[in-house]
């Protein structure tokens, strides 16, 4: 019962008391219902993430820029995204007079579909996944092509030079950075021996030294190649050239208004989850619960099964959220790249580097036996380095906060208006 069809068959047997679902005439209706239900849950989850994320990102941005951010609608302003959504729904849906009408109207849906298509193959917990495709990773690389076409369509359909520039930049960026990210994922696929996302998670273990990122020094580098490429593919700062406000007003979405405009931003914030979840799946061990193998969870029944599934989802969500926070933090700290720097980063550094790591990973895969002495030494070394980096990061955060507090006291003569753990 680890896929949708199994679940549907189980439901048919249980609810309609049909012994053999394959011979029952209405089976396809139930299947269709389950497919729609799974789609609704996936889009609902993405919406439930993208909405609050827009608020959280604005609050974090406010904190990093020493301002407050949205805090008016609801306690601490958490209903800001609902207010924004209602406002956008009620706004007029304007199509510019000179626009290419069918393309202009269709484009947001393509972007939306492309972004939410990735949720088909993204795992959430030990047995919660819409479809555990045997080509899962390839699907996750292929389906964003809908986004590329959608952005080009938006740019062209708007019949505005800013929109065309934004659309073409975005497509060029996506197509270029697809290559290093595909090579990075290929290394992981080689070590896992499967293209299925659940299979890749199963090939790792719950503890950090069993994750692919710490498996050897080259995979550690590969993770950062993937992460940078994913940032660029998602048009996130410092790679947000398609919407460079100082050059292009707002890029491909400049002519859109109302709900169609929101669709673009919705997809962008949902993409935060998609890229972080993909990184978690491929490099950070996914939903693995320490001390409880997935096989044992599958053998459980009733509420115990649900409980362990929920725990594995929490672990997955926690790892993903850490990455999401890093992405948000990068957006509000790094300046934007120039177009030529963007292409240099991809073609002159990331692509050759990803080829080198891929070849090196192949050599290591062939020469170093898994769980041998050398393997364990490499894993231990990588975990120690990562721990040192994490400690250094926390130390810097503390030092920055203390310096900030000292400056504030000198300038204003009073204590800082926010403590580090609370939003203003």
């Amino acid at each position: 019962m680890n896929n949708l069809q199994g679940l549907a068959d189980y439901a048919i047997r249980a609810w309609f008391s049909v012994p053999d679902p394959a011979r029952w005439p209405y089976t396809w209706l139930v299947y269709l219902g389950f497919i729609l239900l799974a789609g609704l849950i996936a889009v609902g989850f993405a919406a439930g993430f993208a909405g609050p994320m827009s608020f959280i990102e604005r609050r974090i941005a406010g904190r990093m820029m020493s301002r407050i951010g949205p805090n008016r609608v609801g306690p601490q302003g958490i209903f800001q995204f609902i207010a924004d959504g209602i406002k956008s729904l009620l706004k007029e849906d304007i199509v510019p007079a000179e626009a290419d009408r069918p393309l202009f109207l269709l484009a947001p849906y393509l972007v939306f579909t492309g972004m939410f298509g990735t949720f088909v193959a993204l795992p959430f917990a030990a047995h919660v996944i819409a479809a555990d495709l045997d080509v899962g990773i390839l699907w996750l690389l292929a389906i964003p092509s809908l986004v590329v076409v959608g952005l080009l369509m938006a740019g062209w359909g708007s019949n505005s030079k800013w929109a065309v520039f934004g659309g073409v930049r975005s497509a060029a960026q996506l197509v270029s950075y697809e290559i290093p990210s595909a090579f990075a994922l290929l290394s992981v696929v080689l070590f896992a021996g499967t293209l299925s996302t659940q299979g890749i998670i199963a090939a790792q273990g719950p503890w950090p030294w069993e994750w692919f990122i710490f498996r050897n020094p080259l995979l550690f580098v590969t993770f950062f190649i993937f992460f940078i490429s994913a940032l660029a593919e998602g048009n996130r700062a410092p790679f947000d050239l398609p919407e460079a406000e100082s050059e292009l007003v707002s890029g491909y979405n400049v002519e859109y208004s109302g709900m169609r405009f929101v669709f673009f931003f919705f997809a962008e914030w949902a993409n935060l989850w998609v890229m972080s979840a993909l990184a978690t799946t491929a490099f950070l061990g996914g939903w693995q619960v320490p001390g409880m193998p997935a096989v044992e969870i599958a053998a459980m029944t009733g509420w115990r099964f649900v409980g362990w599934e929920a725990l594995s989802f929490l672990i997955f969500a926690l790892k993903t959220s850490v990455l999401v926070f890093v992405v948000v933090q990068l957006r509000w700290t790094l300046p934007r790249l120039r177009v030529d720097q963007l292409m240099t980063t991809c073609w002159k550094y990331l692509v050759p580097l990803s080829l080198i790591t891929l070849t090196g990973n192949l050599v290591l895969l062939a020469l170093v036996p898994e769980r041998g002495v050398v393997d364990w030494m490499m894993r231990g070394l990588m975990v120690l380095i990562a721990a040192a980096l994490a400690l250094r990061y926390l130390q810097r955060v503390r030092a920055n906060y203390l310096a900030d507090r000292e400056n504030y006291r000198k300038m204003e003569g009073k204590e800082l208006w926010y403590p580090p753990y609370r939003l203003p």
Binding site: W28, L133, V135, A142, I143, S145, V149, L152
Partner: protein, 206 residues
């Protein structure tokens, strides 16, 4: 999957693919044609997926929709005056084309009706990456390697065409031009006037 569902999905995908193809062929706006091609590619990928050829479906999306179509779109969008049908999408010879297409369709329908096409659905993991890889590196390893050589040759050819001439080559080519330069220098002065005169005429045509 039950047969009813398979039939519904198949006819839905077929209509989607064919209407995309019709739009590619009949649209007067070449940008619309290029975008309609995307619908065709996605529809074909869906048909592959319906026949359990998962890998082929995803590769279709990745290579055709994500790579080739984007390239076509770039070419179309970076060409000037592309959405004027008289410039970019000039139609000629409609009647012979209709005869050719009609005849070809008749032959294809005849073949489809007469041929014993009772191909069953691909069962199990045959369309998956593992079986595909085994087939490529087992019985079909020679054609596979030959195709990779062909692609490599195409790649090298493309790089050679795209690469600018290197310094030594450029110097060799520049020498005869320099010898002829005094003669040519006089020409642009004469040539400039007709060129300027030609420009307004072109705008009238447009």
């Amino acid at each position: 999957m039950s047969d009813t569902l398979v039939a519904v999905v198949f006819y839905g995908l077929a209509i989607f693919t064919l209407s995309g193809a019709a739009l590619v062929a009949f649209s007067r706006n070449i940008v619309h044609s290029a975008f309609a091609l995307f619908a065709t590619f996605v529809g074909v990928a869906g048909l592959y997926a319906l026949m359990s050829a998962n890998l082929l479906a995803v590769i279709q999306l990745l290579v055709y929709a994500g790579g080739i179509l984007v390239l076509i779109l770039f070419a179309v969008m970076l060409t000037s005056r592309i959405d004027e049908a008289r410039v970019s999408n000039h139609a000629w010879g409609r009647q012979p084309a209709a005869w050719a297409v009609g005849g070809l369709t008749a032959i294809l329908i005849y073949v489809a009706v007469k041929a014993p096409l009772k191909a069953p659905m691909i069962k199990g993991a045959l369309g998956g990456p593992a079986a595909f890889g085994d087939a490529l590196l087992g019985p079909y390893v020679l054609p596979f390697e030959i195709i990779s050589m062909l692609l490599l040759a195409a790649l090298i050819g493309a790089v050679t065409l795209a690469r600018g001439r290197d310094a030594a080559e450029a110097a060799k080519l520049a020498k005869p031009a320099e010898a002829a330069a005094p003669v040519q220098a006089a020409e642009p002065a004469q040539a400039a006037e007709p060129a300027e005169a030609a420009e307004p005429a072109e705008e009238v045509n447009a």
